[in-house]
């Protein structure tokens, strides 16, 4: 079943196209990642889907309808940096949210425990660390048990333990038949949590599909050197670059996506190989994605 359909969604700020003509859809029960470096349009996209900002053009349908108020109660949303009243406690802030959503106050304690803020629930929001603020924002999103969760960089500012907890929380909710749309600039995070991903580059979708189909792929890098024999010898003895083939004067190395050209270059320098050419094999769509994924890392 389709939860969300997005059609040609675009947002421009003056001459800047922050989000360009996005078309995609979300199926029920899947966990989607929106992956892209900073400034690629993730928050802008999610803010439009939350109706916090108006699209310049395009449309989207939640549950097959133009979003109205009755739809909103099905969405749990957390955008960018947490926004709460500084001078109110965590609990009072959640009470406001509960009032708006028509959720019983008894659920607040359950959520506070779930996000690990129960002990600090009477502290003012402004005394919280960034990680605690972030967790409260996640708490506000999950309050009322919505069917769909929109989470914008939910692990931002958390310590490793907090990151693990939040990812665990998301995975748990994914197991409860919820549809999750998670924006992140971390490939690793998307791989760990999501089943599907949409990769954004400067506001454009450059990949939309399964997470795994992609992660297993390898990249091909072109190499040339004056002393091609020495180069092949070094490659043969290496661990990461041993998978290569030679075509005339050009060497094509297959590498795992976690290896960058700079790592390869440094390795060659260590072994006194002077490269005369180092490049990704001609930019097919798939390779483009990996280039970005490497950029983000």
């Amino acid at each position: 079943m389709e939860v969300l359909r997005v059609n040609g969604l675009t947002k421009t700020y003056g001459s800047l196209i922050a989000v360009n003509n996005l078309t995609f859809s979300l199926k029920r029960g899947e966990v989607y990642g929106i992956l892209g470096p900073n400034g690629s349009g993730k928050t802008t996209t999610l803010a439009m889907l939350s109706e916090a900002i108006h699209p310049s053009s395009g449309e989207f349908l939640w549950f097959g309808k133009d979003s109205g108020l009755n739809q909103r109660s099905k969405l749990g949303i957390m955008l960018e940096k947490p926004n709460f009243y500084d001078y109110l406690s965590a609990k009072d802030n959640l009470k406001i949210i509960a009032d708006i959503r028509g959720v019983d106050y008894s659920e607040i304690d359950i959520v506070l425990k779930r996000i690990g803020l129960f002990e600090r629930c009477n502290s003012r929001f402004k005394t919280f660390s960034l990680g605690m603020k972030q967790r409260l924002a996640i708490g506000a999103a999950v309050l009322g048990d919505p069917q769909v969760l929109i989470l914008d960089e939910p692990t931002n500012g958390l310590d490793p333990e907090g990151i693990a907890e939040v990812r665990e929380l998301i995975r748990k909710m994914a197991g409860e038949e919820k549809t999750i749309l998670l924006a992140s600039h971390l490939l690793d995070e998307v791989q760990k949590v999501c089943t599907q991903m949409i990769v954004l580059k400067k506001g454009n979708i450059i990949y939309d599909g399964s997470v795994n189909a992609n992660a297993k792929n390898e990249i091909i890098i072109e190499l040339m050197a004056e002393d091609i024999a020495a180069l092949t010898e070094v490659l043969k003895q290496s661990v990461d670059f041993a998978n290569f083939e030679r075509k005339k004067e050009m060497i094509f190395v297959k590498i795992a996506p976690n290896i960058t050209t700079s790592i390869l270059n440094a390795y060659m320098q260590q072994h006194d190989i002077l490269l005369s050419h180092l490049a990704y094999k001609k930019q097919s769509l798939e390779e483009d994605i990996f280039e970005i994924l490497n950029e983000i890392r």
């Binding site: 803010a47 939350s50 916090a52 900002i53 949303i77 957390m78 926004n83 709460f84 708006i100 506000a140």
Partner: protein
């Protein structure tokens, strides 16, 4: 801020009496016989309602500052966005602020009511219920005037987003800009400008005390044309606030 408003207003209302007494004494000492002595008691039923709501007119700026902060805080903490993504519609967001303005106006009217009842019973001799309630419509006018002023403050705050700038704009508009046309042209020219028309709801009491202050307009009545104009402006300010919030990215 709210407490400043309440305290300043009460002090001013209390102080008025002693100022009048003092002026009277000065007048007597200088011995200018041609100037009539001021009536000493402004706290008599039923005129007390008119007198205190007229004085309160000059203090509503404090409430406006409270209103502006209530709105601009939502921008500084970005809680408008939070309310919106939690599920409030833009209309409901503006309505909640209009509701705040209503509460503030009501609190102000209640303050005057309590103050009036207390001081009135202390200073009035005898207790005629009809006298007590006769001019209470000035409290309603006070409520409407404060509410109208607060909706103007709210509209400016929604448009400008910043507290200090909103307050400045409100001050400059209220105390400078609106006075220009009245100065340049005839006195009544500015009567239909937003603030002046709201202020005209409660004009200076037509008694010797206020005569003494040389105020331009005096009336002991609340005219229905001013009520209508004030209501029209108030509605307009609320509608503009709504359209601003509806159009804007939050």
């Amino acid at each position: 801020m709210l407490s400043i408003y309440f305290i300043a207003l009460i002090l001013a209302l209390l102080g008025l009496q002693s100022i009048i007494l003092k002026t009277n004494r000065n007048l007597q000492e200088t011995g200018i016989a041609s100037i009539p002595l001021l009536p000493t008691n402004i706290y008599l039923f039923p005129h007390i309602w008119h007198n205190i709501s007229f004085v309160a007119r000059f203090f509503k700026i404090f409430l406006a500052v409270v209103m502006i902060i209530l709105v601009t805080n939502e921008y500084t903490y970005n809680t408008l966005r939070q309310s919106l993504i939690t599920g409030l519609s833009r209309g409901q967001i503006v309505l909640s602020k209009i509701f705040d303005a209503l509460i503030l106006s009501l609190a102000s009217a209640i303050l005057l009511l309590v103050f009036g009842l207390v001081m009135g019973s202390v200073y009035s001799s005898g207790f005629d219920l009809w006298d007590v309630v006769r001019k209470m419509n000035f409290l309603a006018a006070h409520f409407l005037m404060v509410f109208g002023f607060l909706s103007l403050a709210m509209m400016i705050a929604f448009i400008v987003k910043k507290a200090s700038l909103s307050i400045m704009i409100l001050l400059v508009y209220a105390y400078i800009l609106e006075l220009i046309p009245a100065f340049k042209y005839s006195d009544s020219f500015g009567d239909f400008l937003p603030l002046r028309s709201i202020n005209l709801l409660i004009q200076a009491p037509n008694t010797t005390i206020f005569d003494f202050l040389h105020l331009s307009s005096q009336s002991n009545h609340i005219s229905s044309i001013h009520i209508i104009v004030a209501l029209v402006y108030t509605t307009l300010f609320c509608l503009v606030s709504y359209f601003v919030v509806r159009k804007r990215d939050l």
